[in-house]
């Protein structure tokens, strides 16, 4: 329960707000700009990674989805640059499996550092295992909090709430460009959540807030929870298609639709619903996450799915690894890592990854710039 408030509090200040108009080339994210090379655990610092033997890291992820694969790929890509070896471990989306596997790896005794990617449900057990073992670790995506809501693990993550907020904000700012000057009372919002994941849920809260802010008093918000829709909807395209199509079909009073989801698969499903219903002119779809949309655009897609929050995987991977190496080297402790990102009352810092809303016209440039900045060189 403490997760949500904590995370909202940790949402970055305005300076991280990404580019919102198409013309502007995405600015170098402020988060990275603040970094100076004296600070340990960042890209530019002057460390010889080959003066030591290669570290053995384990990427221990809870789910086993597309995102995890992409992160793994990104880690593997930068492994030769920063001189580490990487193996992975999956919890198969099960608390017990995750904890048991983690313990098994710890007991094996040859791991130098962990990249921990979990839900909050295993936080307590994972923390006590890691504390006992003394092995350095960095959390990816999901930060841990103590009972007072203070961040207690060094984390590389996405400002979940803000990214959701920004994804929809792009639509509310730009809808006239697609629809013209329509009656805002005829606009509705469909959200597709996976509510039991606090991180994903945050995004939806941000999305809804952005809508309410843009259209005060508009009550056409239709919330769908793909968790509640049953297993066939979990992370599948149908999980986005069906609620979108059926909500639209059941609410003819709403003429213009914005669809925003916490996961790319759902928005891709929603995009198909827009195609099938012939509503590419009256729908605008967005999402947090971009790779599938990138593929669609590459293949010439030009439908209602207009934009997405793009985050380069390297923008996660590189800080994660550098931070972990700093911990392993003993150049920083969990508490002293990335002091510039540390909230006032928090024990540890959250490195918030660069992201931006991209459209068909901007995605190439943005991703190239991110690769330039964080990718293997």
């Amino acid at each position: 329960a403490k997760g949500s408030e904590g995370k909202k509090a940790s949402a970055p200040p305005d300076e991280t707000a990404p580019s919102q108009t198409e013309e502007e080339t995405p600015p170098p994210a402020a988060t990275a700009e603040a970094v100076v090379s004296e600070i340990v655990g960042t890209i530019d610092e002057d460390v010889d990674h080959f003066a030591r033997p290669a570290y053995k890291f384990v990427y221990a992820h809870y789910d086993n989805n597309l995102l995890e694969q992409q992160m793994y790929d990104a880690f593997v890509d930068i492994a030769p640059v920063y001189n580490f070896e990487l193996t992975r471990m999956s919890g198969d989306t099960d608390d017990e499996t995750y904890v048991t596997n983690l313990q098994t790896l710890i007991d094996r005794g040859d791991v130098d550092g962990f990249i921990i990617e979990t839900t909050n449900s295993v936080q307590n057990a994972v923390l006590s295992l890691l504390e006992e073992s003394g092995i350095p670790y960095i959390n990816l995506f999901t930060e841990y909090y103590d009972a007072e809501g203070r961040v207690i693990t060094p984390t590389v993550g996405l400002p979940q709430y803000q990214s959701g907020y920004d994804s929809l904000k792009y639509l509310t700012d730009n809808y006239k460009e697609y629809w013209g000057d329509v009656d805002t009372n005829e606009i509705g919002l469909i959200t597709i959540d996976f509510s039991v994941s606090p991180a994903l849920n945050e995004r939806i809260i941000g999305i809804e807030d952005a809508f309410k802010e843009a259209f005060p008093g508009n009550e056409n918000i239709f919330y769908n929870d793909s968790f509640a829709a049953g297993q066939s909807a979990w992370f599948t395209l149908e999980g986005g298609y069906d609620p979108t199509a059926q909500t639209i079909g059941s609410h003819p009073e709403v003429k213009y639709w914005m669809v925003a989801s916490c996961l790319e698969n759902y928005s891709q499903g929603a995009a198909r619903a827009a195609d099938d219903l012939g509503r590419n002119d009256t729908m605008l779809i967005t999402t947090v996450g971009h790779p599938m949309l990138e593929q669609e655009w590459d293949n010439g897609y030009d439908g209602a799915w207009k934009c997405a929050i793009a985050i380069s995987n390297y923008a996660y991977a590189t800080p994660t690894v550098l931070g972990l190496i700093a911990l392993c080297d003993g150049r920083a402790t969990a508490e002293t890592l990335w002091p510039q990102f540390k909230g006032e009352s928090d024990e540890c810092a959250i490195w918030l990854a660069d992201y931006a809303v991209v459209t068909k016209d901007t995605y190439r440039d943005y991703l190239n710039s991110m690769d330039e900045k964080y990718g293997p060189k």
Binding site: A1, G3, S4, N64, T87, R88, M89, S90, D92, T93, D94, D95, E96, T97, V99, T100, N101, Q103, T104, L105, D107, R108, G109, T119, N120, S121, V122, Q123, N124, A125, S128, S195, V196, P198, N201, F227, A228
Partner: protein, 315 residues
């Protein structure tokens, strides 16, 4: 001795031994380190309890797909009660009782309305799975109660998990009850032919009620032990372990038709599954190949079974 060699259990035991030896060699002994053995044993606790519940019902000719849902909901209930300040023993009893009630609900559907247990328990599964997030508002509920933590994560002599002792004890007790008591015999008989058992003076309905309720309580216990170990109850809980429980039971010789198998075989089935999975982590198999390998394991287990059955026919 010859008789033992020809049993299915022995064949599965050989498979288990093979798994252990192969992993030990591949991992340079890390697989059989005391710590790792403890890990393997610890990982069997939840599955064991579910296997007992599911297995006894299968022997009696039913199937229960709601165990995961029941356990998850009951653990959530316990965590909720603890959070609102209820003493641990009341939370524990309430959760177990809720498990029993859910089991009784299944029993009513199956015995009074004569529904197929497959679909009836599937319905119960959906209902209970829905209640878990309703109780917690979709979040997890952390558990700070020392007794719960102790039950789930405490270790005797800092080595043997208490939860393991609980589940092994349960396996032992149920094994003995099944093989050596009137009730246990009744379970087999109603699984084999309920009409004949009834005409023989047994009470199939009563036994089936007892089994469903028992399975509900055991899965509540499993849910609580896991929640205690993780110090949190969440909406997924033990849902994923449910199929493992059924699989272990079938591997161990309990068949869907009812009437056969026992807890000894089920224990070996559980150990095979858990050793195999743990070993893959020890020797670093990629997650995708793990999926393939665990499917292949089931097929290998069936092959072993097939070979032993064939040999039995020949002699």
């Amino acid at each position: 001795m010859r008789k033992i060699i020809r049993t299915k259990m022995f064949a599965l035991f050989l498979l288990l031994a093979a798994i252990v030896i192969i992993y030990t060699v591949l991992s340079d002994g890390a697989f059989v380190s005391p710590k790792n053995i403890r890990n393997i044993l610890q990982s069997t606790t939840v599955v064991s309890l579910l296997t007992i519940g599911a297995g006894t019902l299968m022997i009696a000719g039913h199937i229960d797909l709601s165990l995961g849902g029941i356990g998850t909901m009951c653990a959530m209930l316990a965590a909720y009660l603890l959070r609102v300040g209820v003493p641990w023993y009341i939370a524990l009893i309430a959760a177990l009782a809720m498990g029993g009630i859910c089991g009784a609900f299944n029993a009513i559907l199956v015995n009074e309305l004569r529904l197929q247990s497959f679909i009836a328990t599937l319905a119960t599964a959906a209902i209970t799975q829905g209640f878990a997030p309703i109780i917690s508002q979709g979040k997890q509920i952390d558990i700070y109660d020392p007794v719960f933590k102790f039950l789930g994560g405490g270790r005797f002599l800092n080595y043997v998990p208490y939860s393991l002792i609980i589940s092994l004890l349960a396996l032992l007790v149920y094994g003995i009850v099944l093989k050596n008591t009137k009730f246990g015999r009744g379970v087999y008989l109603i699984g084999g032919n309920p009409d004949a058992a009834r005409l023989g003076g047994l009470r199939p309905k009563r036994i089936s009620y007892a089994l469903f309720i028992n399975a509900g309580c055991l899965s509540a216990l499993a849910g609580i032990l896991l929640a205690g170990r993780l110090q949190t109850a969440n909406t997924v809980g033990i849902t994923n372990s449910q199929f493992a429980g059924i699989t272990a039971a079938i591997l161990g010789g309990i068949s869907f038709g009812g009437g056969t198998g026992g807890m000894g075989g089920a224990l070996i089935g559980i150990l095979i599954l858990n050793c195999f999975n743990n070993g893959m982590t020890v020797i670093n198999v990629s997650p995708y190949w793990q999926t393939i390998a665990s499917g292949a394991l089931l097929l290998i287990a069936l092959t072993v079974d097939f070979l032993s059955a064939r040999r039995r026919l020949k002699t």
